[in-house]
Symmetry: D2
Subunit: 345 residues, 4 copies
């Protein structure tokens, strides 16, 4: 009953197989392996972007920070939400990789709205050389609170960015989960919606540790390569990143695992609802933010469930007080796990 | 009728004299000039801090950024208000000098409150290595909106910082104005109130371009020196920084010019009040935020007054609409200027 | 016949098995996996350093840069050879991670000598605040040209460093190859010889992508953790780094693969010598720098051998001109490969 | 008898006068003062570069570091000599401002030769993404050892840079001294000779603390402005930088003071030669590197002369041992000083 995160589950067997199969003989290092050629081609096809620059790194923070650094000069500021992973969970990596750019927080509790974004952008750089310059807008899809922007919502945000000629980064650590929730194509959720660069996540959705960065403007390619190397994120035995991604893409595995994760989440949400849980908002992808009474939390805890108490504490006198929890499902969660979990509430 | 800022007036004659007097013969460069020995001694005496490390730089941004960099590791965050100069007006200099530390904004419109500070600190670093570590608290005295923290207010803020073992930086670009408003000593407004490092401003109060950084912990001295040199802020002909500061300190000139600026401001506030202006808050030092009808603004503008319209625009149909303005007085403003200004309202 | 590098061969089956075995169920992320506990313990035991801080990263450049950053302030300079990997092959990563420290090159062609090191250190920082401050000494073992420092040579270098109170970093990308060449213990080649922090390589010696950083001073632990996270080198699914290292350490595999690589190299050197090749110096570990006539290079190339021509070019009129080559063996090279290679000369 | 440096003498009265005259009324801050308009125009005229971007900063290190940062990406390397000020005397400021670029040292003892430059450039970046990319070439004129490149020598160096499409920076801390030695125009010594950006020194030649940065490509202007502000080098009371430069340029003062300094140096060299001193090379501008017996050094020291012993020490048994000294003259040195100095040898 592991619902703490989607970064703790096993690698999908198909990815593991591909890794094992790749482990034969010699392959040119540093991205010159033939599997990477295959991966690059596959991702360009997927995104209907034959010119896109495609690179692999091993962590989501590297994907985000390197992508942003190509678009955020040191004297600029990145626009993101108050709960963005790049703001809260990367220990200043975006600031590090951009040599000291700022992050300007767009008010709001989860999804960024075009109005809030516009107002925030307007609030910056009205002072010439004195304040930071307006830099990229970074959007997270699936959001950190489990919401999914519709294509229209995405386009509305990028339209604001374009009004100010600002580039747009999409943190797609859970790209596949969002796409399956929307039922759209990768192109529709990225460049067709105005996105310039996307972190296309693999780790949370069945891989071991691999994320693709897709830059739709190939003129950024060489800068990205240099930044990746300088950041110590270029793997010598790169074929093992390539192989993960190749296994992940083959036979649409990435869509299948995302669909599984989303289905798991829906089943869990249904069970929670039946037990009277209340939701921060209706779960759309593979994350749930819901509240349960402390007594229910305690039963779950005692039964061995692993998940984060988001607000409040198991310690406390009142058994009826509602505590918020975050529940995340990856592809590997079984219906049995879910049903057992629900049964303990 | 120049009320746009206190960074545009002339150098006080006494400072200029000292500069001219210093311009004789040869002096060892890079801070080894004898006038610097005199200045160091004078500042240590003023602050009742015989061990303090004292350094001069030429800009307030350099003073703030270098001071903060000694206390804010790259993986930390600095706590300041939303309108702090270090946040809004230094083009990411604090981020640059700290190699990418973050600035966490304490909500509020001007003065920081202990409650807001505590809540903001509590909100950071509850995620171990994932979020930035809590770093220094930076307080501006006089604030960017012209308020002056009382000694009790300062101590209440530093007490919160100390609860979390966080160092405290005081941005004292208008240190003297605040001190004269409070009627206290330099020591009372700094280390006795829990401040670890202060930017002691000279430029806005009668100098040409000089700020002292006073580090009450002398163990930081060598690091500061190296950071200053590496930041290209160590002057070869340093005696001309020393001479400014020496002239500024002699015969308590710095207190006199601050008192003059504050008196000018009070006279101006009185005049404005008589004319029906409304104030953001009661002016305490040398800055006023007040509103006047557009028609009055236009008359002032036509009469050649120089000041910032803070909110709104001279252009506009309604002559009665109130527009906010910022008015700053330095020591050099004359009663005549003020009275003429008021007469145009 | 792949002799281009030891970064292009397969992962050893025992490491792969451990990876596959680790791929079961859920494991706490970000280094909190139980396999990491096992690895930490094993490395502390190996190094006879029960207090050492032990961390895993995925690339050698990350290991070096993060380790150095903990010891090299931005206003300091790192001492290394002209051919050090940190200087030539990391695209300014050490400069990046240290926020702009310099690398001062100790003259010489391969091994650093105590005399050259001392002279170079003496040449730096005789100018107070003006030049960079003396920072860590970084030694590569096995060197970039395939030499192995004896324990006495290592101690002589670290003694010079200690004379100036400078910390010592050991780039051990080929740590195991050196150790097997010397027949010593990990402790003897590190802290007993005066090393403060070591990059303990796995990738080139049978792993997929994992390096341990061992800091013998545990007071540096938390700083390292923060730098690793900020550098985007903390893996969420960390167990797969742990599992690689666990498989690598089990049953002394790491020593066995290194011994295999060294034996392969010795066999190759013998074959080359019999064919009249001349050596830059006598191969000691798993790298050979040797010269052959252009005609021999061409035959090898036509036969499908993969290796670097170090100086000169296959193109050229004179078939007898000698061209330098670099040959590297990892554990996976077979005697047959070697003999075939030699037969083509 | 002050010959230690040209950074310790007084400000020329004409510059001081202009400073005093500028000290009247109010002037728009941050470079918007009318004197700056005058200075910009004057420098563009001087350099026959009507489009050039012209900015003022207060230190030579700021001028060099900011100029280089506009041309040296973080993943590049700057080519300079082993004794370049940017390498030896700026405490890693160029590395800081460029976010970690490297400095690659062109071998040689003083002047850079085209052959050495070409060979050094060739030695860098033959490894794609692994090594740093080739960045700007930085040339110092007058060199750190007092030599002056002829126009042909300059052009030969920049021609090498252009062969590799590398930009060229000229560190002109002693620009005027070189120009007077050559008898050429500012344009001839800069853009006509292939220079892209120049640090045009004022401090060492009669100013208090001001250097102009002239970027011949105006497309770099805004980036420079942002970098200057972010580096805390934009002065609020900017008119006092402008006034220094205006006073310095008026009536060709800058050429006169340089000519005076050079003449002083020639007189000193003549005197030294008559006393049997031997020279590192024939003095051309305002610096002398010469050797004298220890006994002569002692006599000078006892007579109160201030200068650097470059190699060796006053302490020592042998009165006849020759010690190298550096002697620098600024405009303010008097013939009497020089003659007295020589008389003590």
């Amino acid at each position: 009953m592991f619902f703490a995160s989607d970064n703790a589950g096993p690698v999908h067997p198909q990815v593991m197989d591909r890794l094992n199969n790749a482990n034969d003989g010699y392959a040119m290092p540093y991205g010159a392996d033939p599997i990477m050629d295959e991966v690059r081609e596959a991702i360009r096809n997927l995104f209907e972007a034959p010119e896109a620059a495609v690179y692999l790194v091993a962590t989501g923070t590297a994907a985000n920070s390197l992508a942003l650094a190509c678009y955020a000069p040191a004297y600029s500021t990145v626009f993101c939400t108050q709960v963005a992973h790049i703001h809260e969970d990367e220990c200043n990596a975006p600031e590090f990789y951009s040599a000291g750019a700022k992050l300007t927080l767009v008010p709001g509790t989860d999804k960024m709205t075009p109005e809030a974004l516009r107002k925030t952008i307007e609030g910056e750089e009205v002072r010439g050389v004195h304040g930071p310059q307006r830099g990229p807008v970074s959007i997270t899809q699936v959001t950190e609170r489990g919401s999914v922007y519709t294509l229209d919502e995405l386009s509305a945000l990028t339209a604001v960015a374009k009004d100010y000629k600002l580039p747009v980064h999409l943190d797609g650590a859970r790209f596949a989960n969002a796409m399956m929730a929307l039922g759209c194509t990768p192109a529709e959720m990225t460049w067709k919606a105005g996105v310039d660069v996307v972190s296309f996540g693999g780790t949370k959705n069945g891989c071991m540790g691999v994320e693709a960065v897709v830059l739709f403007d190939p003129k950024k390619a060489w800068e990205f390569e240099l930044r990746r190397k300088r950041g110590a994120h270029l793997f010598s035995k790169h074929r093992y990143l390539s192989a993960q991604m190749a296994g992940y893409l083959a036979d649409d595995l990435w869509m299948k695992t995302a669909a599984m994760a989303n289905r798991n989440c829906a089943r869990l949400a249904e069970g929670l609802q039946a037990k009277g849980a209340s939701f921060l908002h209706q779960p759309q992808a593979n994350m749930i933010f819901a509240t349960l009474p402390r007594s229910a939390h305690r039963r779950l805890h005692d039964a061995g469930a692993t998940n984060y108490i988001w607000e409040g504490s198991l310690e406390g006198d009142d058994p009826d007080e509602h505590l918020a929890m975050r529940l995340v499902c990856d592809w590997s969660i079984t219906p049995d796990d879910i049903d057992t979990f629900v049964s303990h509430i």
